[in-house]
């Protein structure tokens, strides 16, 4: 990037509109901005940073987080005072060229001074990027702040912004042999080369991987595998059982068929045909009798329910006789209730009309006698019912006993018959078994087959039960596995994330190591080169090269390879610093940035100063020297003129309270206030 000019409007001390043209024509690429301390030299640099990046402060301001956010007040305070209560804008416009194209970036920010003197500045700034065509016409090409930032980033890496401006103090600091400063160098290098970004990216990836791993182990329990295995086992088991069932039923068919065959064979055999036939007959008979006996059993049960009647038959009869006797005697209560008759006595009148008063003693006596005779305790109106029941039972009992007897006899008879049949059957079976060798074997075989058949049937029942159980278990597990599969697919997705993250991490680490080493080597190399150009011969006698170790610490080595940073002079250290800084910019930004230096001449020896003035314009594309009157004296001015690189000089002149004016001077005519530093 080549800077053309900077235009300031009400920016910091620079009231109203003021412009600086930067020297661009090679070899005259040095611009000097000369002014006493506090005039605003840094202000020019601030304007640049504000314009390019919207920065409201510089790192050297060393503001804390909150203050950093607020930033410094950028609007000229005099202008604010003149317009109390009204918003005033500070604006910086910068024209630059990059890769043959000319651009202009304009940024502004508003502030307001309240009546109490407090200043309120807006948070953000407005920005516009314009392009100038060959005819000199400038048109806006972008107003989106983010896009503009991205474009600028490409031209000029913002990481470098801390390094554009070097002051003598800083240069000095870089090589002082203290821990903090070494650390600063290290940080600077890492920042400049994006190494810290790489390290953060790597750390982030490691964290990411660890998080994913935690999630994976949280979700994966190996349960799915276990369930899947069990389901597979169950499938195999069920299949095996079903096969066995299939085989079993075939075998069963075969057995039945064989048994049937044998039976036929046995029947066909002339010797035993009859016996076998008889045996079958007897078997059938025995079966029929058993059916009959079962029926009998049921009938018996019916009679058992009436068993009490049987057992108590005599007693029933006796009670019946007793009650019958009483009835005969008239002692059983008539249909008239006892209470009714007693009522009659009380009311002293009979239903027929006869008086029953105490003067009719005879009638009363009659009734009392009646009551005594007919109403025996225990013999109530239900006694007649009881008598009736007993009578019925009695007559039923006569038949009952006989029937009962019959049943028992029949049952016994049947039992005997069945026994007889069974012994006959056994006899025949034995005979059949003994007679005729071929029959003997057949019958044995049939017996065995029948036994086998029974066993097989039992086995198949068991298998059927097992199949059902296994199928049910499988159903349940399948439901479970669906749930687990869902979980597993989540795990799989996590695993592929982890793999990608790990691969990226590996790649980044490789690159980082390679890059870090390459950058380090390059830095050391460039630093040494720069040093060779800047240092005087005396220094070069002591110092051979600049080195950067694995911790990014700067050091110088003498010709024997020994470290010498602690032993060189202040001026030499400054040269070392400068060499290193230049190397940083070269490696990180290719030195296509305007270099702002805040007079580094302070501690340099004459030769070193001359070398500096001579070398830097050749190395950097533009060099802007910010010089105070104490450090840029006639001596320096003269030396600079000798280089023929001096293109521009601006003097910062105090105009009033809080305002500075930028005044262009003639390079050839300009006379610094002082003759020399000393």
């Amino acid at each position: 990037m080549k800077l053309h000019n900077i235009e300031l409007v009400n920016f910091r001390q620079f009231k109203d509109r003021q412009t600086i043209d930067i020297a661009t024509d090679s070899p005259r690429n040095v611009s000097v901005i000369y002014g006493e301390n506090g005039r605003g030299k840094t202000g020019i640099f601030r304007a640049l940073m504000f314009c390019l990046y919207g920065d409201k402060c510089l790192s050297q301001d060393e503001l804390s987080g909150e203050q950093k956010k607020e930033g410094l007040n950028l609007v000229n305070e005099v202008a604010l005072k003149e317009n109390v209560g009204t918003s005033v804008a500070a604006q910086v416009a910068m024209a630059f060229s990059h890769q043959g194209q000319t651009f202009r970036i304009v940024r502004s920010i508003d502030a307001l001074m309240k009546t109490d003197g407090a200043i309120v500045q807006s948070q953000g700034s407005r920005v516009e990027l314009q392009q100038t065509d060959v005819t000199g016409n400038t048109q806006p090409i972008e107003t989106d702040p983010d896009k503009i930032t991205a474009l600028i980033q490409e031209i000029l890496n913002s990481r470098l912004r801390d390094y554009f401006l070097f002051d003598g103090e800083r240069i000095e600091r870089l090589t002082r042999n203290t821990k903090e400063r070494r650390e600063e160098v290290r940080q600077g290098i890492r920042a400049l080369l994006d190494l810290d970004a790489m390290e953060l990216a790597i750390a982030g990836l490691k964290s990411l991987i660890s998080q994913i791993e935690k999630e994976i182990s949280h979700k994966s329990t190996g349960e799915l595998q276990r369930v899947t295995t069990i389901i597979a086992d169950l499938n195999a088991k069920i299949e095996k059982l079903e096969n066995a069932q299939e085989l079993g039923s075939q075998e069963l068919k075969r057995l039945v068929h064989k048994i049937h065959e044998i039976s036929e064979l046995v029947s066909e055999n002339k010797e035993t045909a009859d016996k076998e036939k008889k045996r079958q007959e007897l078997l059938k008979n025995s079966q029929d009798l058993k059916v009959e006996r079962d029926a009998l059993k049921r009938e018996m049960a019916g009679y058992l329910s009436k068993g009490a009647q049987l057992v108590a038959s005599e007693l029933i009869e006796q009670l019946r006789e007793e009650l019958e006797l009483r009835r005969h005697k008239g002692e059983l209560p008539p249909n008239i209730r006892k209470e009714f008759v007693e009522n009659l006595l009380d009311s002293e009148r009979c239903i027929c009309g006869t008086s029953l008063g105490h003067d009719h003693q005879q009638e009363r006596e009659c009734l009392l006698e009646f009551i005594k005779k007919h109403y025996t305790p225990g013999l109530g109106p239900e006694s007649l019912d009881l008598l009736l029941s007993l009578s019925r039972l009695s007559s039923a009992n006569t038949g009952l006993a006989d029937q009962f007897n019959r049943l028992l006899t029949n049952n016994k008879k049947l039992g005997d018959e069945i026994l007889e049949l069974e012994s006959k059957i056994k006899l025949l079976s034995d005979e059949l078994q003994e007679g005729g060798t071929n029959i003997d074997d057949l019958i044995q075989e049939r017996k065995k087959l029948e036994e086998d058949k029974r066993k097989l049937e039992r086995e198949m029942d068991r298998q059927a039960d097992d199949i059902v159980r296994a199928q049910n278990e499988r159903e349940d597990l399948k439901k479970k596995s669906i749930v687990l599969e869902k979980q597993q697919s989540q795990v799989n997705s996590l695993v592929s994330r982890r793999i990608l993250a790990e691969q990226t991490l590996e790649e980044l680490e490789k690159i980082y190591n390679r890059f870090a080493n390459a950058a380090k080597e390059k830095l050391a190399e460039k630093s040494t080169e720069n040093f060779a150009r800047l240092a005087d011969d005396e220094t070069k006698k002591d110092i051979k090269k600049i080195s950067i170790d694995e911790n990014y610490m700067l050091d110088v080595l003498n010709w024997s390879g020994q470290r010498r940073l602690g032993e060189i002079s202040a001026g030499q250290r400054q040269i070392v610093s400068l060499s290193f800084i230049m190397a940083l910019i070269q490696v990180a930004g290719n030195l296509e940035v305007p270099l702002f230096m805040d007079t580094p001449f302070g501690r340099l020896s004459g030769i070193h100063r001359d070398h500096l003035l001579d070398t830097i314009p050749k190395m950097a594309s533009q060099w802007i020297l910010l010089a105070t009157d104490t450090e840029f004296t006639e001596v320096e001015a003269h030396a600079l003129r000798q280089t023929n690189a001096w293109g521009k000089i601006y003097e910062l002149v105090k105009e009033g309270e809080g305002t500075t004016r930028i005044v262009e001077r003639d390079v050839h005519q300009f006379t610094p206030k002082r003759k020399s530093i000393h």
């Binding site: 953060l200 990411l208 998080q211 993250a501 980044l508 690159i511 390679r514 890059f515 990180a588």
Partner: protein
Amino acid sequence: MSDKVSIDSILGQINDPAIRIMAEHSLKTARKALDMSDYSRKQFVVEELHKILPRALKVRADNETA
């Protein structure tokens, strides 16, 4: 010959597209994160990486089926 050593160009040369997406995004995010406070940096990077994973994985999957 350019003295400039650029990580971006190196990352751009990674063969595997999915890894390249991840690597470039992680560096971009890390640069942004450096402007943040120390303790929220890493978290920011990790969160951004979580977000970019699905896209990178999709690129990987598309490449595999192709």
